[in-house]
Symmetry: C2
Subunit: 144 residues, 2 copies
């Protein structure tokens, strides 16, 4: 049995925050924890979860935290059409998403073409492309 009470695990919310040069605050730690519990959660879910954990947090605080985390590269924000923004811990693996048109369920999909795929297109209009984002639309088994 390993004692982790006083451990400073690099993947702990507070360590992540410090490593990113962000101040460690209760809302930030709680939001990071909430993000682990709920895959691809929207702000509402994160607000509710954070509030449950802390007793109270302002809605604005959670939005601010999310913005700080996204800006710091700790969190990825995705905005599937027709849905409020979703958030997930940033894994930097450039994975894609499978979205159910009916219930909005979202699943991760590994990038078939390698790490950062499809970055070259036939005619790029002179654009400097840095990311190819793929959304697979369909029906999940429950909705089919």
């Amino acid at each position: 049995m390993t004692d982790t009470t006083h451990a400073h695990r690099i993947d702990e919310p507070s360590a992540l925050l410090r490593a990113a040069g962000l101040r460690v605050t209760a809302p930030r730690v709680a939001v990071l924890a909430a993000l682990r519990e709920h895959r691809h959660a929207d702000a509402d879910t994160l607000i509710a979860t954070t509030r449950a954990r802390l007793g109270s947090v302002s809605t604005q605080a959670v939005y601010d935290v999310l913005k700080a985390l996204v800006d710091a590269g700790l969190v990825r924000r995705i905005e599937p059409a027709g849905s409020p923004a979703r958030y997930e811990p940033h894994t930097h693996d450039n994975h894609h998403h499978l979205v159910c048109r009916t219930c909005g369920r979202i699943e991760d999909v590994d990038c078939a073409a390698g790490r950062r795929p499809c970055l070259d297109v036939v005619d790029d209009f002179g654009f400097t492309i840095d990311e190819a984002e793929v959304v697979y639309w369909g029906q999940c088994p429950d909705c089919a």
Copy 2:
């Protein structure tokens, strides 16, 4: 010189509407015309253009028209993250989009992998996938 005054060209707005089983109304014809003038226009642009052409239309009318056209398959609606919805005549060619992170400029990109690409993923979680939507993010030459 070809006289087209009394022609019933299949690609004329009114013909398109009738073919789709939709009533031909001034706002619908005007919105279809506006869609030809502005690639990937948002609702605001279409409202302004339609209003200029007709003298006046309600905002709601344009939204209703757009919904009817999208439902009928005549128009495609895309929702790039961070931008209001954009609309384009539906070409059914499953092309993708290049989006400038700075100015929001959008360009069409042919699908490199064929008509309906990437529809197979490693693990599809039992989903029935009907579309793979790709957004290439980057900077346009003007913004770079």
